[in-house]
């Protein structure tokens, strides 16, 4: 089974690292969408099928927390798992993310195997 994945981050480098990490981890990706902020991410989510979202927190126009809140308030989007990848180190902020229903949190810098482990838990063994 292949997955449609959305990356939401204002850093092109981070999105390239995520894409590379997915390849290294052997995750079967059908379509890899990318957005530069939460608003662009929501636009993609409302017109495309997406199995999982990677999201940064600090972004221009609309940040990750606001995007997560809008996804969870939208019946069409609330079930899509979200993995936040951020430099955020605050327990309070991470706790807030979990309360909002974020599936996982990865603090930068991260290793590809950490990403793989999280995806195995979220997407199941389908991707090997």
């Amino acid at each position: 089974m292949e997955f449609d994945i959305l990356m939401v981050d204002d850093s092109r480098t981070v999105k390239a690292v995520i894409a590379k990490s997915l390849a290294v981890a052997g995750v079967p990706v059908k379509t890899l969408f990318d957005a530069g902020n939460g608003r662009e991410g929501l636009d993609i989510l409302r017109r495309e099928h997406v199995d999982l979202v990677f999201a940064d927190l600090n972004m221009p126009v609309m940040g990750g927390m606001e995007m997560v809140a809008e996804m969870k308030a939208d019946t069409a989007l609330r079930a899509i798992p979200i993995v936040v990848i951020s430099t955020e180190g605050s327990d309070a902020r991470i706790g807030e993310l979990r309360e909002k229903g974020v599936a996982a949190f990865l603090r930068k810098p991260f290793k590809p195997e950490m990403l793989k482990r999280i995806l195995e838990e979220i997407l199941g063994a389908a991707h090997g």
Binding site: D10, A16, P60, S90, P109
Partner: protein, 164 residues
């Protein structure tokens, strides 16, 4: 800048560079910056929370290219590494700042970081910045790399329009 801030920055910044991009930084002398070839790719950002301030980083273009290539798992002649070199520096700065703030304040407080502002410096400009209070000089395989931090306006201001 107090002694704790200095020691944590000196410890955390090289550690993050190593974890992120497998680049290993040693302490260097400020005069190494003016002596190296420019331009330097640079970035700065501001942070706000229990304390406010800014951080900046600057490195020769070739080192930024190596940073990008290592982040991407590619070679320095990879067009993507060339295209992403400056963005990679900004990302390193973002990650380093987050970890420095956690090292100084613990996991309790929430900080807001601005998006990195990216710009260039000539070698003389980098040399002048390296001599300012709050600057840390490192070398990666002989290439000079500058990190600068200011807290609550008590050090020299971090350069770049983000702090204008």
């Amino acid at each position: 800048m107090d002694e704790l801030q200095r020691s944590e920055i000196a410890r955390v910044v090289p550690s993050i560079l190593g974890q992120l991009a497998f680049l290993f930084a040693d302490p260097a002398e400020p005069q190494d910056f003016a002596a190296a070839d420019g331009p330097y790719l640079a970035g700065s950002l501001t942070f706000s929370g229990p304390s406010n301030g800014g951080m900046a980083a600057a490195m020769p273009e070739a080192l930024a290219l190596e940073l990008a290539a290592n982040l991407l798992g590619s070679e320095t002649d990879d067009p993507k590494a060339i295209e992403f070199a400056h963005d990679a520096l900004g990302e390193f700065l973002n990650v380093a700042c987050g970890h420095v703030l956690t090292a100084l304040h613990g996991p309790g407080p929430v900080f807001l970081l601005s998006a990195p502002h990216l710009f260039e410096l000539t070698a003389p400009e980098a040399g002048a910045l390296a001599r300012k209070q709050g600057s840390f000089a490192f070398a990666v395989d002989g290439a000079p790399f500058l990190f600068q931090a200011s807290f609550c306006g008590c050090c020299a201001e971090v350069p770049g329009e983000a702090n204008a």
